[in-house]
């Protein structure tokens, strides 16, 4: 190993520590018995997790978040399937520019999207509720769904579709019985990623929730109370574990989506 590559390796590991530092603190301090988040550690406790069980506002927020996350991930995935099926199967004028437009929320500052949506809702005189958050989240998640579904549809062999049509299936039957099962792993990956993104999303939810708060908005409110810090850390730990499981699952499905073609043939 040359000297420069040794330096590089040293840098890579140091950088990795920097990247891991915040995430590692969550579990450490959620099991630490002191109310103050500082070293040295004082002792091990489950107390902070137990207090989570008795907070009805938290349970309400969790329920709201689940409703929003399920609805918006399902909506975004349906829209994503339509868009990427169209993008991968057909070639037509205006395709590129309209897709670029649909993918724009990927790079737009979230605050701009939030402000713009809030202005429209206010001008239309609509009340803010969980459904406005669902629509906002669907807009944000749809680009991710499209990118995931694109790679799933790109792996489809067009001859399978043609064979099905030759054998007398109509277009709907072909889609339902041939294409859908083949891109199913992609759909699962898209649902899981969308669910996780929505569950964690703060800005849009902050702008568009009326009185029904979602989980991140609830957490944001908790930050103001130093006494509740360890409880918030415990909640964060649970969220970290949840995200980890959901995204590992989605990665598993995404890989299956990419490999599905080779398993069929």
């Amino acid at each position: 190993m040359t000297r420069s590559s040794k330096y590089l390796k040293f840098f890579a590991f140091t950088y990795l520590i920097f990247l891991y530092a915040p995430a590692l603190l969550l579990p450490i301090f959620s099991f630490n018995s002191s109310q103050i988040i500082a070293f040295p550690l004082t002792g091990f406790t489950f107390h902070w997790f137990e207090t989570l069980l008795h907070q009805s506002t938290l349970h309400e927020a969790l329920r709201n978040s689940l409703i929003v996350a399920v609805s918006s991930s399902v909506l975004a995935t349906i829209l994503g399937i339509l868009a990427s099926r169209s993008a991968t199967r057909y070639d037509f004028t205006g395709k590129q520019i309209s897709l670029t437009f649909i993918l724009a929320p990927l790079v737009l500052p979230e605050i701009i999207v939030g402000v713009a949506l809030l202005i429209v809702l206010m001008q239309l005189g609509l009340s803010l509720n969980l459904w406005s958050v669902v629509l906002g989240h669907t807009l944000l998640i749809m680009p991710f769904s499209i990118l995931i579904m694109n790679s799933a549809f790109n792996n489809l062999d067009i001859s399978l579709e043609e064979a099905s049509m030759d054998l007398g299936e109509n277009q709907f039957g072909t889609f339902y019985r041939i294409i859908l099962p083949l891109v199913f792993p992609g759909i699962m990956a898209s649902l899981l990623i969308g669910f996780t993104l929505s569950l964690d999303e703060f800005i849009i939810a902050f702008f568009l929730t009326g009185t029904d708060t979602t989980l991140p908005v609830y957490i944001w409110a908790q930050f103001r109370f130093p006494k509740k810090l360890p409880t918030t850390m415990a909640l964060g730990t649970l969220l970290l574990v949840t995200s980890f499981i959901l995204l590992s699952l989605s990665e598993y499905f995404r890989r299956r989506a990419v490999n599905s073609r080779s398993s069929v043939l």
């Binding site: 890579a12 829209l79 339509l82 169209s86 057909y90 037509f92 500052p109 206010m122 669907t138």
Partner: protein, 287 residues
């Protein structure tokens, strides 16, 4: 043939129209509405719909908005610079020295970012605070005698937290562009007498420019409008334009000014991004 093209267009649009209309309704219409509103004025609850540029004039001339725009841009550009600077060697290490374990390295890099953005930024507040993790650790190890204060509730803290928060968005695109480099080009440059230094600056860096430019834009554009980080770790000296937009919307009850501030930030960001891309055009053209 023409008929075939027509049906293809028709079929394509039949599927694409639904998501497209959804985006028109939820993105194009709201953005248009935001631009419209920015030319109106609001007096408490009454909206005056006569066209005026006053909001933009206020946004451009009031020192407080000038300061916030300036600070947002400086913070965001600093974050972009440091994130790319740190991410490049990491991506380089994975691409050229990762060997069989490239996928594992990429996986290791993304894991910490599976915590919610909100919590990660909050954790930086916990880490950098006066009685925080960093200070208490250094005190405990007796490396300092008094807590250091220059790292919380100012622009430095915002830069540190954001440089951490956006790291994977720089590492991944740079890694992809490094992976695309034809390794035989490196052999050629070595055969033609380039040392490691020349090889890097004359071959590798220019060829990976698309990834660097992409990474810079992916980080620069959203961080200008970041709300969470400055609010949590920025104190008053680290507040950015997004915080002001939110204040104008809620407490100040001046939605038109908030819209003008949003529209202005969007235009400034778009302008800088376009200039940046044009500036780097010669590296991007080959692709």
């Amino acid at each position: 043939m023409i008929f075939a093209i027509r049906t293809e267009t028709k079929k394509g649009w039949r599927l694409l129209s639904i998501p497209f209309i959804f985006s028109l309704l939820l993105l194009a219409a709201p953005l248009t509405m935001m631009f419209l509103l920015s030319f109106w004025t609001q007096d408490y609850l009454v909206l005056d719909k006569t066209f005026t540029l006053n909001n933009y004039i206020e946004a451009a001339t009031q020192p407080v908005y000038q300061l916030l725009f300036q600070r947002s841009l400086i913070i965001s550009l600093t974050v972009t610079f440091f994130t790319v600077l740190l991410a490049y060697p990491m991506a380089y290490f994975i691409s050229f020295h990762g060997g069989e374990r490239k996928a594992l390295w990429l996986f290791l890099i993304t894991i910490p970012f599976w915590t919610s953005y909100l919590l990660r930024m909050f954790l930086w507040k916990v880490i950098l605070g006066y009685n925080g993790v960093f200070n208490s650790l250094l005190l405990w190890l007796e490396m300092i005698t008094e807590p250091v204060t220059f790292i919380l509730y100012n622009a430095n803290a915002v830069v540190i937290a954001l440089t951490h928060g956006w790291a994977p968005f720089a590492i991944l695109p740079i890694f992809v562009s490094l992976e695309k480099i034809d390794r035989s080009l490196l052999e050629a440059s070595r055969d033609l007498g380039d040392g490691p230094f020349h090889q890097f600056f004359r071959v590798i860096l220019p060829l990976s420019a698309p990834g660097v430019v992409g990474a810079a834009l992916i980080i620069f554009i959203p961080t200008v409008g970041d709300y969470i980080t400055p609010k949590l770790v920025g104190g008053t000296d680290g507040l950015m334009i997004a915080n002001m937009i939110q204040v104008q919307f809620s407490k100040a009850n001046n939605a038109p000014l908030a819209a003008a501030l949003s529209a202005s930030s969007l235009m400034i960001v778009a302008f800088i991004s376009i200039v940046f891309v044009l500036f780097n055009k010669k590296y991007l053209r080959r692709y």
